[in-house]
C-alpha cells in the first residue's frame, strides 16, 4: 500500500516537473524560430467536430498556398491547430498551449461559447484574435477581436428584412434549436426585426439538441397556424429532416434558412427535389462561377476529397485577411504579441480582400465584417444566387 502511495506521489511530482521543463524547452525553441506562427483553436473531436475539421482544412489550405507563394513579408508561416472539444475550459487550455508554442496571432475559436472564454483571456494578453465562425455578439466584444462570419443578430435581421422587403409572406413560423447559441441568437433578432417588417410570427417552436429527429409537432403547429413561410435558423442536417417531414404531411410553405443551411444538397440519402425553392442567406456558394471561389473549391476538393462548406471558406478568408493585415503592419517572425496585436488592430480596418465569402471584404473597428449576405435559392437540385 505504502509503495503505491509513494509511487503515486512520485508520478504526480514527475508530471509537474516535466510540465514545467516542457515550458522551458519550448521557450528556447521559440528564440531561434524564424517563422510567423499563427495558432487556431476548434473542436476536432466531439459533437461539433465537423466544423472544427472544416476550419482546420480551410486554414491549412490557405497557409499552404501562402507558403508556396513566399509567405508573409517574405517569412514562412507555421500553423498550429489545437483541439478544444467544443468546451470553454478546454479551449482556454488549448489557447495556453498555443501561447507556450509561441503563437503571434490566433484564428479562432470555431464555436461561440469557447470563443467568448478565449476572448477574455486573449484580451488580457493583448493577443490578436480573428474568429472564422464565432457568431455570438460577445465573441468580438473587445477591440482585439475580429470575425469573418456574420453575427447572429445580423443574420436574423437580414433574414427578416429580406422576407419583409420582398413581401414573401405575412404569416411566418419559426422553428429553432433552443439549446444552440447560434440558432436562438438568430431567432431572437429575427422576432425583434419582424415587428418592423410588417409580418407576424404565428408560431415559434423550439427543439433541443436531444430531440432533433422528429419535427412533426412543430410542423403541424406551423401548418395549423397557417404560416406561409417557415424560418429555419439551424444547420442543414436537421433542416433536411424538417423538409422531408413537411413533405410527409403535405405542407409546402416557403422555407427560409441561414448560413447553416449551406451543404443541404450533399446530405446522404436526401431527395434534392424536396429542397427546391428553399432559400437561405449565405456568404458562400461552392457552385459559384467566380474565379477565386472556383479555384478554392477545386483545390479543396483535390486536397481533402469533398466540397468545402462555409466554415472552410470563412477560415480560408480568415487566413488571407491575417496575411493582408500582417503585411500592412509589417509583422516579422520576431515581432512580439503586443506589437502584432496593436499593428493588426489598426491594419484590419484598412485592408480589403477579395475572398471566397465576399468581394471587397472590409472590417469595422468593432470587429464586424462588412459584407452583404447573398440569398441563395435552390432550383433543380442546384444552388443559385438570387439578386
Amino acid at each position: 500500500m505504502k509503495m503505491k502511495k509513494v509511487l503515486a506521489v512520485a508520478l504526480a511530482a514527475a508530471m509537474v516537473m516535466t510540465a514545467g521543463c516542457g515550458g522551458n524547452g519550448k521557450e528556447e525553441k521559440k528564440a531561434d524560430s524564424d517563422k510567423i506562427r499563427i495558432g487556431a483553436i476548434g473542436p476536432t473531436t466531439g459533437g461539433a467536430a465537423i466544423y472544427g475539421e472544416a476550419v482546420k482544412n480551410g486554414a491549412e489550405l490557405a497557409i499552404k498556398e501562402i507558403n508556396e507563394a513566399g509567405g508573409i513579408n517574405g517569412v514562412q508561416v507555421e500553423f498550429n491547430f489545437q483541439d478544444d472539444e467544443g468546451d470553454s475550459e478546454k479551449a482556454v487550455n488549448a489557447y495556453n498551449t498555443l501561447k507556450d508554442w509561441g503563437m503571434q496571432a490566433l484564428l479562432g475559436t470555431v464555436t461561440s461559447g469557447p470563443c467568448v472564454a478565449v476572448g477574455e483571456v486573449a484580451q488580457g494578453d493583448n493577443m490578436f484574435l480573428l474568429t472564422p465562425s464565432g457568431t455570438a455578439v460577445e465573441c468580438v466584444q473587445y477591440d482585439n477581436a475580429f470575425r469573418v462570419c456574420f453575427s447572429d443578430p445580423m443574420q436574423g435581421i437580414e433574414s427578416a428584412k429580406y422576407i419583409g422587403e420582398n413581401g414573401l409572406a405575412t404569416k411566418v413560423a419559426v422553428i429553432y434549436d433552443s439549446s444552440d447559441v447560434y440558432s436562438s441568437g438568430i431567432y431572437e433578432a429575427f422576432v425583434k426585426e419582424a415587428e418592423n417588417q410588417g409580418f407576424s410570427i404565428v408560431a415559434a417552436e423550439a427543439f433541443t439538441a436531444e430531440s432533433k429527429t422528429d419535427f412533426s409537432v412543430q410542423l403541424q403547429k406551423a401548418k395549423d397556424a397557417g404560416a406561409e413561410l417557415v424560418f429555419l435558423p439551424f444547420y442543414y442536417s436537421e433542416a433536411s429532416l424538417v423538409l422531408r417531414q413537411a413533405a410527409g404531411i403535405n405542407y409546402s410553405p416557403i422555407f427560409f434558412g441561414c448560413d447553416g443551411m449551406d451543404g443541404i444538397l450533399a446530405v446522404e440519402g436526401f431527395d434534392v427535389n424536396l429542397a427546391n425553392n428553399l432559400m437561405f442567406l449565405s456568404p458562400f456558394t461552392p457552385t459559384s462561377e467566380d474565379e477565386i471561389i472556383k479555384k478554392f473549391v477545386t483545390d479543396f476538393e483535390a486536397e481533402y476529397g469533398h466540397t468545402p462548406n462555409q466554415f472552410a471558406a470563412d477560415a480560408y478568408d480568415g487566413i488571407y485577411a491575417l496575411k493582408e493585415a500582417m503585411e500592412k503592419a509589417d509583422v516579422k517572425a520576431d515581432t512580439s504579441v503586443t506589437d502584432v496585436c496593436e499593428g493588426l488592430k489598426s491594419a484590419m480596418t484598412d485592408i480589403s480582400i477579395d475572398g471566397v465569402t465576399a468581394k471587397a471584404l472590409t472590417w469595422e473597428a468593432n470587429g464586424e465584417p462588412s459584407k452583404a449576405p447573398m440569398v441563395v435559392k435552390i432550383a433543380d437540385g442546384n444552388y443559385a444566387v438570387v439578386e
Binding site: K2, M3, K4, K5, V6, A8, V9, L11, A12, A13, M15, V16, T18, A19, G20, G22, G23, N24, K26, T44, T45, G46, Q82, D83, E85, G86, D87, S88, E89, V92, N93, A94, Y95, N96, T97, K99, D100, G113, P114, V116, A117, G119, E120, V121, A136, E138, S178, S179, D180, V181, S184, G185, Y187, E188, V191, K192, A204, A206, T208
Partner: protein, 353 residues
Amino acid sequence: MKKMSKTTKNNFVTYLMVILIYAAAQTMAVSGSMSSLMQGLLVPLCAYVILAVSLNLTVGILGELSLGHAGFMCVGAFSSAFFSKCMVETIPAAGVRFILAILIGAASAGICGILIGIPVLRLKGDYLAIVTLAFGEIIKNIVNILFVGKDSNGFHFSTKDSLSLGLEDGGKVIINGPQGITGTPKDSTFTIGIILILISLFIILNLINSRSGRAIMAIRDNRIAAESIGINITKYKLMAFSVSAALAGVAGVIYAHNLATLTAQPKNFGYNMSIMILVFVVLGGIGNIRGSIIAAIVLTLLPELLRGLNDYRMLIYAVVLIVMMLFNWSPKAIEWREKHSLKSKFKKKAEEV
C-alpha cells in the same frame, strides 16, 4: 509525534502534500519557469480535486454510488455566477464578493443535495446510481431553459426565451437559457483554490474520524447491524450526501469564476463529467482521500500534456487510463507490486541481517 494516532498522522501527510504541491507550483510560477498551459490549469485542478474528494465521501465513506455529482457542481456554479454577475457593481471588492459567492454556491448545492437526498437515499446500489444520474440531467436541463433578466423593476423569469422576459430598455439578461451566463468576473485564483481544498479536506477528514463518520461507515459496512444498534440511517446518509453536494458546489464556484462563459453542456455538467469524477475516485482508491487528489491531478493533466500527439491524444488517454486501472487494481499487479516494493525489500534485508 509518538502520541499522534495513525489516522492523525495520515491526515497530516495529506495536508502536507497539498501544501507542498502549492509551494512547488507557486515557486515555479513566480520564478517564471512554468508554462502558461500549466498556469491556466492550476485553478481547474483545484476544482477537480475538490470534486474528487467530495465524491469520495459519498462513494467511499457512505458506500453509495452517485452519478449526479456534476449536477451539484452545476447548481453551485450557476447560483454563484448569478450572484457575482448581479453584485459586480454593488460589491466592487473581489475578495468579499467571491467569499459570499462561495457560501452561496455551497449553500444552494447543499440544499439541493438534501432535497434530492430525501427521496433518493431510500434506494440502494444501482438504483441509487440511476436516480442520481437522472437528477443530474434534470438540473442541467432546468438550467438550460432558465431565462433571468434584471431591470429597474427587479428580476424577471421565463422558461421560454429571453424576449418573453419583457425587459425594459437598459435591462440586462443575466441567465440566457442555453447560452448560460457570460461575463462572470474572474475571481478564482490558485491560492483561494488551495485554501478551499484544505478546508474541504479538513471537513471531510474530520467528519470521517468523528462519531458521525463512524456511524456513516457502519451503515456502509452493514446496514442491518447499524440499524440494530440504533443508528439513524436516513440522518447520517443525508448528512454525508449533503456535505458532499455542498463541496461539489464549491468546486462549481471555482469553475464558474475561472471562465468568462458558463454554459451547461453535457461536456461540463452532464453525466460525462459525473463519470469523470467517479473515475478520479475509483482510480485513486475508493475511500482513499489522498488517492483521489492525486488521481484528479494526474487525469486532468494527462490529456493536456498529450496535446503533442494531436489526433491520437484521446486514444492514448483512454489507453493510459486502462493501463493505470490495471496497474492499480488488478490482483496480479497488486501481488507483483507487493513482491517488488521497496518496503518488502527492506524487510527482507532486515530479516537476512
